[in-house]
Symmetry: C2
Subunit: 346 residues, 2 copies
Amino acid sequence: MKAIYMFGAGDVRLVDAPDPILKDRTDAVVRIVRACVCGSDLHPYHGMPSTPGGVSMGHEFIGVVEEIGSDVRTLVPGDLVISPFAFSDGTCEFCREGLYTSCIHGGFWDMPGMGGAQAEGIRVPFADGTLVKVPGIDETSPLLTSLLTLSDVYGTGWHAATRAGVTAGDTVAVIGDGAVGLMAVLSARQLGAERIILMGRHRARTDLGRKFGATDVVAERGDEGIEKVRELTGGHGVRKVLEAVGHLPAYEQAYRIVRPGGVISRVGVPQYEDAPIGFGSLFGGNITLTGGPAPVRAYIEQLMPAILDGTVNPGKVFDRTVTLDAVPEAYRAMDDREALKVMIAL
Amino acid sequence: MKAIYMFGAGDVRLVDAPDPILKDRTDAVVRIVRACVCGSDLHPYHGMPSTPGGVSMGHEFIGVVEEIGSDVRTLVPGDLVISPFAFSDGTCEFCREGLYTSCIHGGFWDMPGMGGAQAEGIRVPFADGTLVKVPGIDETSPLLTSLLTLSDVYGTGWHAATRAGVTAGDTVAVIGDGAVGLMAVLSARQLGAERIILMGRHRARTDLGRKFGATDVVAERGDEGIEKVRELTGGHGVRKVLEAVGHLPAYEQAYRIVRPGGVISRVGVPQYEDAPIGFGSLFGGNITLTGGPAPVRAYIEQLMPAILDGTVNPGKVFDRTVTLDAVPEAYRAMDDREALKVMIAL
């Protein structure tokens, strides 16, 4: 089959890869219908060392089940399914409490022995635990665009907002106008936040953010941006800050705009390990830091109905659709901020 | 009056200081009856640069109101009062929501213009907001020993446990067998924790910890201690970790024993600013980091009844009582771990 591999920073290619086959009795093989390029794919696009064998890319997809292992109970060939960006057995103590990204037997699509989703097909381990069947529509539905956000960005934005404890009437700041930041805006709005300050400097993106529910946009960065947020919030900062970038300056911005007693909820994958958490940053103001890889498997069934009935349209984050052969160019366009998020239609 | 000043690392002296007088109309002047030396006083005792003018020490006290400013409404001379380790106006938006340590007009006793509590008397700003009257007993009561813990260590341990969300049936680890750690054990027990693992290596202290409710003691440190905690908790770590030390190794221990999805609640004043919070420490496991300076003012009225009726006896953390002139020696004894916590009786 055809698949997208990365061989080093900036080096993305369409290659011939082995067809996916069943390995374990709990596997399914899925023909991919929609996939996409993630903001987090840009991290290796910037920094990956040269890797002659290449790495299979992509972790978000919708597909049709083609084959199932003998122990798969809830799916049959022909089912239209959404996959989370992490696979999980669905039965361990972490899965049972909804923390699917800490599944004892789970993992990520870029692990050795796995294949990525920017491909024609994929082997899915623990198919019953991992995949969610989409009822009532087929692979020709225009709803696929919005449903695809349930693979990662919508559930990740939702995780940011729920982990922060956003509730009705809240004031929330969202740092980052990428797809996850915009989904955090939508999620905060759905949870009843009254004031949503979106910090981002790409006009087309922040305009879309306003459509998703942002009430204020702060384009300024650094001291100026922080000053602006404080002005908007009576001087003491924001109770709930959703950090959807992952770079250190975004975290630093977060603790400088959060109100004493408030919460910073991170969902941007941190591109740093050490950062300030002492008296002057988190401790002195009793700031809570939370977040992590979103267990989106827990949210797919919860968020799907509002997509199926047209209440929300998170698919608007996709501003370009390509076929598999144009994915290398899609990476470049996203990296140059020409495209917000690129969908791959197969 | 006589007061204790620190002039540099290891240099604590009894000196003659000006008598406290009313400055603002919301002040009270309090004659101090009980004070104590705090584990956090040992931080400057180790590292304070030579300061010829000296710094007035102490932030925990019970006293008798001697004089009140014209705007003080809730207190009269003769009242027996407990003071939190921070003063606060009691009326600002942070005080109204219980976050007294972030009071807009509040502060700490070691700030310029203030005086410490290891002294015969003290000026208390915002007396109505800061002080809590103790009903029904006088300054000769033996209950004063336990009531003094409400100034800091008991409320701080309580803050650790409540911020962590400790509830009935929980498994909790407490890092640190100092007075705050032991009060965190007592608090976790009061909140219904079923299993309380106390990490500390001073036998007399951990024995006291068992009396306060610890069910397990782990004396080992580093990898060995972490391994032991994991063994005790089925391999995945502890849901609620209360960090009552403030040094970086204690924080590192915390994120290495916390279960994915769990909480680290810090109340030991961090002696570091940067620390690991990336994928490998907090983010990957969706760990929440919370805590800060305890708004003990919020807890005094809540925790006092169980002391007054004898249900709890947190005063057991005091294992030595001295007069003011012996306080320099008390610092040394606490620093050498000869004394757990020293009370000053005036």
